[in-house]
């Protein structure tokens, strides 16, 4: 699946390892929460980057104490309508101070990019190779934000008064 980071398609070094499958000897590997909980020591003993993939009913609160073990936390959108991961991403960034990659996986559509970006996602598994062009359009088509989130955009209520203070 193509991976979009910072608006460009990149090679994805990560392998998502299904629960029944043998872990590769080396290289970055992404595992489920269940595998992490059952084989924690074995996974930590591997001398390669580890990622975790959470289903939409698995809050990052479940791994809050272990977040520094993971280079990637992938959050699943089983359907685009399931918006739980927006809250999870903000919790990762704002509550738990997670600095690694927060990846959107599953049904990730063009018209959700901006919301995802604002909530703290910084990598996106997308359906097709045109996603990079769509990305540029999608994240720039609305320039005004009314609320603080996990990104660096300034809400208009702050802009308004910054401006009047300068006048």
């Amino acid at each position: 699946m193509p991976l979009l980071k910072d608006g460009v398609l990149v090679d994805d070094p990560w392998v998502t390892v299904d629960d029944g499958t043998q872990l590769p000897m080396d290289g970055p590997a992404m595992v489920s929460l269940e595998r992490w909980q059952a084989h924690r020591d074995e996974l930590l003993g591997r001398n390669a980057p580890l990622g975790i993939r959470l289903k939409s009913d698995q809050s990052p609160a479940l791994i809050a104490d272990d977040l520094d073990r993971f280079a990637v936390v992938a959050l699943e959108f089983p359907v685009f309508r399931d918006g739980r991961a927006y809250s999870y991403a903000r919790l990762l960034r704002e509550r738990y101070g997670y600095r690694g990659e927060v990846r959107a996986v599953g049904e990730v559509l063009r018209d959700q990019f901006l919301f995802m970006l604002r909530c703290g996602f910084d990598a996106f598994e997308v359906r097709d190779e045109n996603a990079a062009g769509q990305w540029r359009e999608a994240v720039s088509e609305i320039s005004v934000v009314y609320q603080p989130a996990a990104d660096s955009r300034t809400p208009v209520w702050a802009l308004r008064h910054r401006r009047s203070a300068a006048e």
């Binding site: 809250s87 959700q112 088509e141 320039s143 989130a149 208009v156 209520w157 802009l159």
Partner: protein
Amino acid sequence: MYRYDEYDQTLVDERVRQFRGQVARRLAGELTEDEFKPLRLMNGLYLQLHAYMLRVAIPYGLLSAAQMRRLAHIARRYDRGYGHFTTRQNIQYNWPKLEDTPDILAELASVEMHAIQTSGNSFRNTTTDQYAGVAADEIEDPRVYCEIIRQWSTLHPEFSFLPRKFKIAVTGAPNDRAAVRLHDIGLIMRRGDAGETGFEVIVGGGQGRTPFVGPTIREFLPKKHLLSYLEAIMRVYNQLGRRDNLFKARIKILVHEAGAEKVTEMVEEEWRHIKDGALDLPAEEVERIRAHFAPPPYETLAAAQPAFEEKKRADGAFATWADTNLAAHKVPGYAIVNLSLKPVGGIPGDATADQMDAVADLAEHYSFGEIRVTHEQNLVLADVRRTDLHVLWRKLRDIGLATPNLGLVSDIIACPGLDYCGLANARSIPVAQRIGNRFADLKRQHDIGELKIKISGCINACGHHHVGHIGILGLERKGEEYYQITLGGSADQDAAIGKIIGPAFSSEDVVDAVETVVNTYVELRQNGERFIDTYRRVGKEPFKERLYAAA
């Protein structure tokens, strides 16, 4: 009223361009209907039985004359010459063409309006008391906070894909005219111990197939914490609200299943992390918004207006209207005027383009150029000098908006029903029209007194039947329409869900049944009791006996 600055305007302009692109992708076949659906729903565009329907947001029901004229223009140019005012204080058009909708949104943006989030599983239009800012019983103008909520909830990145739609209502008065206990979140302005104002917070009310009067989860929330507390509620709901069953996805089900105490605990815990942070609005921003709602330049007038009283004595029809459709204004010499969109035999909430234009003119001449839409599907001119009432009344009569039936048996809330809606099981509008015709005699309506009839064409309860004094729910059985009657509902500060009185009635019999209920009340009432008072005193049995005795 609130006026856009360059930021607000930029957002709606960008939104129009975005939607124009989405429609173009749909028309070019780059988007399937399935992929297009969530995008159009974010912009209030539904696909109904016969055509698209576009719902336009009227934030907390407040319109300028210029905005009302633009709504009239849209009705004429892009629709069939009328619009329908809704129970969310919005307006909807029933016949727009898909390819015209970007132009309609551009027309709206030109008068600081939009259709953002009038559908979809996100925040809907925040509603309020139609008498906000002018009511004699008000603690503080709730529209300031409605506007703050409007901005915060617009394109919220975390809460645009909630389990289900989400409705917030705010009132600044103890007499609840905004049905706040029947909302996902209801806010009532209260005074704290030191006299400061804040909010009582209610969560988990609602109608639909499982109606609940919402419990209070916080008795008093200081105003500065409004957005952080709302965000805490939303974050709990977004994570824990049910997504396995469309019919159990509203926050009321979470509150019901987990219990109000547990939900309160979770909200307070979440809030502990985010309070006193980035969601505290700077005081100067609150003041900036508040300034938009400063009172208009009222004249200093005597409370007693002999000329008005004299007109009432001389003109019985005027007196009837004045006694029924006016409400007390906080400023001496002024009155709040209700314009009934419920003419006998008409379609509740509908207004023609000509009527809209005329109302805009009247608002400019008599009410500082502003109009309100009520959740009971009427219009309000909120700031009229009592000395102008007689001439205003004559002009309203000329355009068919002076029916003196506010709060009476023919002031019916009805959903669009099977005449328009793809979800409906039965028609609502014709039942409302037939009830209106049955009680066409205004003298009789006035003798019956306050009586709220509300009609829904299916269990989704868009016509608020659960909280009608008399509620009517349309059902379908073997291709026939039937109507179930509930009694004793109420949407005000004594909110209650009506009780089903017995087996449903056929379409032919339902108006007779309503009349039987009304006649039973008239026989049983004591000392000026309203219908709801009598019902609460005697219960449903006497009504049930009369309704089903013959069977």
